[in-house]
Symmetry: C2
Subunit: 289 residues, 2 copies
């Protein structure tokens, strides 16, 4: 895992515009937002799915950087004063605190464009048609019926008691869409899988995406700001519905473990080929930060 994390860090460093290219401040802010940390969960999932499809690692690397650019852009925009108004991320000042709001806004906008540029500029699949499909998958995952839409539902839910199904609906969009895309894109870098196999992978990704968020809610409640590298206890303070507020800590932990087991089951048809994806389900649920 740390080898992949280091590889993605190096690739992002190489693929993002250099800090001395005009406009320097914007490029520095983009690099600040995307480099230097994070668990790189989405890249790890892309590589594990690529592994299952015996994909060329140099292709998966591009996909991993693209999904990570989208993730980084979403964090920069979510942290802005008009959204979550947060000052700490990955143990450092958030992008708008380190630079300024206007630069952070443009850095997020530009990181989104980089993601699409990466998927359009590199040869990532056996044929151009598959690559167009990959661009469709990423665009759908980012947009108003994916990640950005989930964020809008999140905003609208502040202070409202949500039922478990509504909470799931929000997170399936907010974090789930990009996690699903990471798996789908990693797999498409390799050998052509059957529709049935792609369906099994997508089921795994859906479950793991949800588990990721349930664990995030537990950690937001139980871990310290120092451990998380971001402000702990924020959701409760903001009166946001979470899995912990709906199920309690023990209930949320039990749900995460159930999702972990189901996610592993979804992989059963693949046998040993899916061992890295299975291990990631464990990592996502058992992590401490």
């Amino acid at each position: 895992m740390s080898a992949i994390q280091a590889r993605v860090e190096a690739a992002l460093g190489r693929l993002l515009p250099a800090p001395d290219i005009v406009p320097q401040r914007l490029h520095q802010a983009m690099r600040y937002a995307a480099l230097g940390g994070g668990k790189r969960v989405r890249p790890l999932l892309a590589f594990a799915a690529g592994d299952l499809a015996t994909a060329d690692a140099s292709r998966v690397e591009i996909v991993a950087c693209a999904v990570e650019c989208i993730h980084a852009y979403s964090l920069v925009h979510d942290d802005l004063p008009c959204m979550d108004d947060d000052v700490l991320r990955r143990g450092r000042p958030t992008c708008h605190v380190e630079y300024d709001e206007a630069t952070a806004l443009l850095a997020g906008d530009s990181l989104q464009a980089v993601a699409f540029q990466l998927l359009a500029e590199h040869r990532l699949a056996g044929d151009a048609e598959t690559q167009l499909e990959m661009l469709r998958i990423l665009a759908a995952a980012c947009g108003s019926r994916g990640m950005a839409g989930g964020q809008a539902i999140d905003l609208a839910s502040v202070g409202k008691p949500l039922a478990l199904t509504e909470l799931e609906h929000m997170h399936i969009h907010k974090t789930g869409a990009l996690i699903r895309a990471s798996v789908a894109l990693g797999a498409r870098c390799g050998a052509t899988l059957s529709i049935d196999e792609l369906g099994q992978l997508d089921r795994y990704a859906k479950l793991v995406g949800l588990a990721f968020q349930v664990v995030d809610d537990v950690l937001d409640c139980e871990a310290s700001t120092a451990t998380l590298g971001k402000t702990a206890g924020k959701d409760a303070a903001a009166n946001k519905p979470t899995y912990v507020s709906v199920l309690g800590v023990a209930g949320a932990r039990a749900m995460a473990d159930e999702l972990r087991v189901d996610a592993r089951k979804a992989l059963s048809g693949f046998g040993a080929k899916a061992k890295r994806l299975a291990a990631l389900a464990d990592f996502i649920v058992l992590r401490k930060f």
Copy 2:
């Protein structure tokens, strides 16, 4: 021209998520930002370039909507308090005034994703490779070395006296990149043009893009807020360098006319096939708003 404007309005209305789809408020804000006005200069350029390449209008329509979504997203983000802090656009309250800042931020983000989704979802070129090239063109035009980068240079230039070449550098990115992309994408919907022909079109687009901005600066200075539908005199008030501040009104007008003549000359190799592009050069320079 008005037929194309109406066609683009109708297509955007059809292609953007309906206002009653969850999350409704986000989708309403996206539609508010993209529908109901604007000169649609970029779509007009795409259609005129498509016309030259005898492109199928149903393809050009998608390209026109994609570039217009990018343009609309850039206006929404530029109008935010942390950027230009503007309250009036196309004669109506800006998106964050009509909705709220967070919704406007997400609406802009989502409109960017829509643009890439449109180019990836529809069959727009004879082969998938050309379509991937179109996605590359759009991504490069939007990003930190295109439109968003121009906006960053603009921010950095407030209060600084700029030489004419620096001003050009800023606008070649800020407004020029997307205008060039509009022409390039429209042309690629049709018959394959030679590298030489594409180069002539790109030269035309560069000149017209610059002319557009020079005229914008003149109008910002001479026209009323009511005529423009956006706050007039803003650049001078914000102490931003403009073509008028560098050249004076008469000098800026003379420069715009020179660019118009050069843009028409760049089309001379195409003969009558380029008559709509030539007419647009006139429209862009002679417009009153």
